[in-house]
Symmetry: D2
Subunit: 376 residues, 4 copies
């Protein structure tokens, strides 16, 4: 077993999800490599220590630059707000560390280009946490499409609907709500939610050629969580866009935090010549599949409970009928990263792949700004 | 076109459902025969006239014996409370009328035997309104089973769940609530609801050999709707039973009027060696189907929207995707009755077939009474 | 009872649906007025006679101009392809006939304006068959929105997805496939399917200010059903658009005939501040409703089986739990038309109301053509 | 932090599920106590070592009696086939170890009585792994019932349906299929599946008074996995029973391994005077709830996505909308066991509580054997 010494930056929601993945991956997936929780880095020493103790990190740091200097760190995991991704990643690359970066890759395409150059120049392993690719049902969708079961694709549509910012008293900024602060987050739902939808779409259906988008900010002013002052809200509360894929299919995407009743409803649907499929994060263990070649009188959408040993990743878990959940997508991503170290094949999505999502996001925001179609 | 002159007895819920079926059948289904709404019979002359006018009955009668004397009546439709079925049917048979009798056939097996003998002696066409056989999804289930797609059957289960008598203020007796009056109805949910489940089961899965049942009456006393006096409730509010079918499969049936949240939830499921199917009256246009021969990674329950032209009865209605409803089951039954007149083949279910359901009901009630398994 | 003498033009799918509605409305809904199937008009005499006989039309005509001359016709129902609506409607108005016109109102806004002027100048009752307003679940949605239960609306989205033209061998033109012929239909999915979505949206959520649309024609050439020659396909196979409503909410609409697995999947969803609702034509008897004011631990989307007597139109049908179907939407529209005659209140949607949908369709097509946002 | 030194017996499916729970509990739930994976015991030394290495057990044993002698073991976890539960538990109690025993408690009630006496005489903490109580949705159901939201209960029904033994080539006995061997398992679906249903039922709805059951063995002979010889199958392939609860409600239970299409479909439904609820293991993160006090026009079954911080256990996991899975039920049970050590309150279900389920199972099997109602 070869140790993979992890230096984690951040202990928030994603810090927990990634840490759990490092702790669990080898329990269920075999690899020559074994993640070691070597160091946890965060500015607040007390909280960092508490998190480190709970998860078994061997040490803490309060300055990420110090952590990058350590020889006992092989890989850096970036779980900070988006506006810090670039600087940390570039420095980590210079320090020769592998980098696992939370999505979206960067604040914009220009930053992302710099980051790609940095990791490629340094020749370090790199990956972005677009975790939903590793939902077994989504991986199964990929397999079905790649096998040609859908035939020519006509339509791709995806939604990511939430409702947690309808309340105008939700503040902006601070640890809990930095996603509403344009300076920390870059954008609103586009970078936070649509980025997931776009990454999956590019993976499943190929490149996007052009987009026409609209954004909206329903609550125009909010109180800053730290200063207590009112400030204009500069992120997009909602964003929809239409697009053409390179393969000739039409795309339709929507994201919002104002869809009452939806907590985290990421859905996708692909309509092909021979078959269609759809998936929904609220029931992530199911894939809906329609196969036109079924005998006509018994043709219908199949609800596939993706929990059998021959379905992606599921042979490593329990028995048919028993579902796994959200956190497992990260475990799968770590398992695949470890396998990439075993085999020497690059992990996916790399920074370079994630940059494509960034380009679409930029085109979307520009299109909404200019009320015009934009090429990606 | 040959007229089929109908004499309808009763104008309640079933009187309306049957009348609508006579009015509509030829609009959607071709036949040499054409129902004519010749006479409506009911004791209350004013209400009878109102109903007759609305639906276009040519005449009214207030005494069913008078109606039986008329030469211009070919077929009598019995929509009275259960305790009148026997007498009317026997007299109608003697008068040489075809008989379409609302279910259950009779108050008990003994009565049913007399009725069968009467129609068979008279040689008159006869049918009982077990309408759920003619839900297209249920007819499709029949077709799939008969084609052998399920293979050996292991389990058959059915529920009929309602919640309308939970309120202890619902009275017993009278026009609206005669179903709670044992003298008019014979039994409670057994004859009213389980009879439907049993008829379908016998049709789909063959004969029942023995049963073990339990009944319950949750509200012990209710006010009589006509007298205003409290009286003991003698019908079964709920009834469950287990059984063996002749083909070796196990059956499980339940019915109640105390299942909060279910209005008329008739569901059935059949599990076979190769495939399973299930159906639900609350979404009657869908059949769920699981086929084990599907490729394992995309195997799942199919939700079949039974609205295509090659599915039972649906070629006579609208276009794929557009659903029909409850009332259409009666239209289909009339259409099939007319077809039986065209071809000379007996209509189904005949009195004799419906008698089998009566026998199971009797065994169920006896089993509950004696707390013992009973052969049918 | 006052007769309303109907002159029907066309005996296709819509001719049957409307005729059934006239035949059934009084059976279930009381009115002083009573539709009489006076005349059926179609060019093919034999087929016209067959249809008339089946439904009880008293006479036939083969030239609609002749029918307009008849004094015994009160109301004309236009069930022709779209390109004939204008001329017939204007002549019928001149002849003083009430007009019930199949949707979309016209080939375009300009035609629609002329038609509105004609009926308003003539002062004749007029209505367009946007039947989906009268699905009980959709009417219930309207009631809930109008009561303010949703609060401020943030999002409105609707789809109308079909799959019947994926096969490139489906011809264009002729009686069965005139909808693929731009000369007869005006447009493809926009006028056929999106028009329904738009009508409902305007009714539920108010006016649309501007749109950005995209259209696609996947199969570029098809054989003409009558000539057997290949010809370019000029209608839109698919159309999506984004929009702003006057109330500040965002709209997202999509329609296609290339969504494998969907027969006629019209869905709509409205997200408001306090509540959300959604509906789906494939299960038209259900309304999904989420109420944020529910106690938080038991909050969830409610699946409302719209079949109770206190829900729109349902008091006139069967009992709770028993569903109605597609054809009933037309019966409800006739019943409401008859009620409008009883009360003198105009029927809805009038030509003038339907013109608003036409304007949105025109803006959508222009936007797609010019790849630019267009005001309505 | 006080260590809780675990000695695990068995490394099969349940050994893995329990071990994972010990490894994960403190990561998500705070406690003064901290499980330590001290020793793994199994007869096959090589496999034991492999499992121990993977999960971090500090040592292995190949004889459970040796493990019981060790002073560094605080608690013994019994994950053996059922026929070894009694002996190990009694010896462990004598050795003063806490005991966490896989369900069902014992081969029969007599064994269970001895085991209860042993742990109670020894005064050691004890618990049985009826893990489904700790599905958040099921815990929520318990809370709703205990708050009186359902009012008087009329009906309780539960199913546990599988399909994995339909194939007659599945062998009996051996590590993988000991559940088909009556000598190792005691019974078939009754002890394996119905025991879960019964435990939950007793917890939610109180004691069961009497039962009437039927069992079936569809495949009469199978090959022994170890000897290769054909032998009669002595376990029950399917079992259904009806019952009366002490509170007057009716129960209906069914379990089988011959329900094609169902992998592990444990469903339960409770119908009360004011409300009903239902749950399904295949979508374990959802609870369906119907509240009759909802305004009638918007009344419907609510699909509650149990993933909010105020719902049982969920405040310790991710964010609303993100689901957890099967394995978490064990983590919750460990967390609750640790809490019981913190507080001194006994853990639940104790051996004594689990004995009640054993009594019902015995009555069920006796009833099926004798074809008669049996008191529990």
């Amino acid at each position: 077993m070869k140790p993979l010494n992890i230096g984690m930056i951040g202990y928030g929601f994603m810090g927990k999800a990634h840490t759990n993945a490092y702790a669990q991956a080898n329990h269920f997936f075999e690899s020559e490599h074994h993640p070691v929780l070597k160091a946890l880095c965060a500015r607040n020493k007390e909280k960092a220590q508490h998190f480190a103790d709970n998860w078994g990190y061997e040490s803490i740091e309060t300055d990420w630059r110090e952590m990058l200097k350590r020889d006992d760190i092989d890989a850096v995991d970036i779980c900070t707000p988006n506006n810090l991704h670039k600087e940390i990643a570039i420095e980590a690359a210079k320090a020769g560390k592998m980098i696992l970066c939370e999505k979206p890759l960067a604040m914009n395409t220009a930053e992302g280009e710099e980051m790609c150059k940095a990791v490629e120049d340094a020749g370090v392993a790199n990956m972005v946490w677009y975790n939903y690719r590793r939902v077994p049902a989504v991986s199964l969708a990929k397999k079905l499409i790649d096998e040609g079961r859908l035939g020519q694709i006509f339509h791709y549509r995806a939604n990511f609907l939430q409702d947690w910012t309808i309340n105008a008293d939700v503040p902006v900024g601070g640890a809990a709500t930095w996603r509403l602060d344009a300076e920390a987050a870059g954008s609103g739902v586009t970078g936070d939610l649509l980025a997931h939808c776009i990454d999956t779409a590019l993976w499943l259906n190929g490149g996007i050629a052009d987009v026409s988008a609209v954004t909206e900010t329903f609550v125009k002013e909010r109180v800053n969580a730290e200063t207590g002052e009112k400030q204009p809200v500069k992120i997009d509360d909602a964003c929809s866009f239409m697009c053409h894929f390179d393969n000739g299919s039409l795309g339709l995407f929507e994201s919002t935090r104002y869809a009452r009743g939806h907590k985290a409803l990421y859905t996708l649907e692909v309509n092909g010549e021979h078959a269609s499929l759809r998936w929904d994060l609220h029931d992530l263990h199911r894939l809906e599949y329609f196969d036109h070649s079924d005998d006509s009188v018994v043709r219908g959408w199949r609800s596939i409970h993706v929990s059998d040993g021959d379905q992606p990743y599921m042979g490593n878990w329990w028995v048919p009928g028993l579902q796994i959940g959200y956190e497992h997508t990260f475990i799968h991503q770590v398992a695949d990263f470890l396998k990439s170290l075993d085999t020497g094949e690059p992990a996916s999505p790399s920074f370079r792949e994630a940059l494509e999502t960034q380009k679409v996001c930029d085109a979307v925001l520009a299109s909404a700004d200019e009320r015009a179609w934009k090429n990606v």
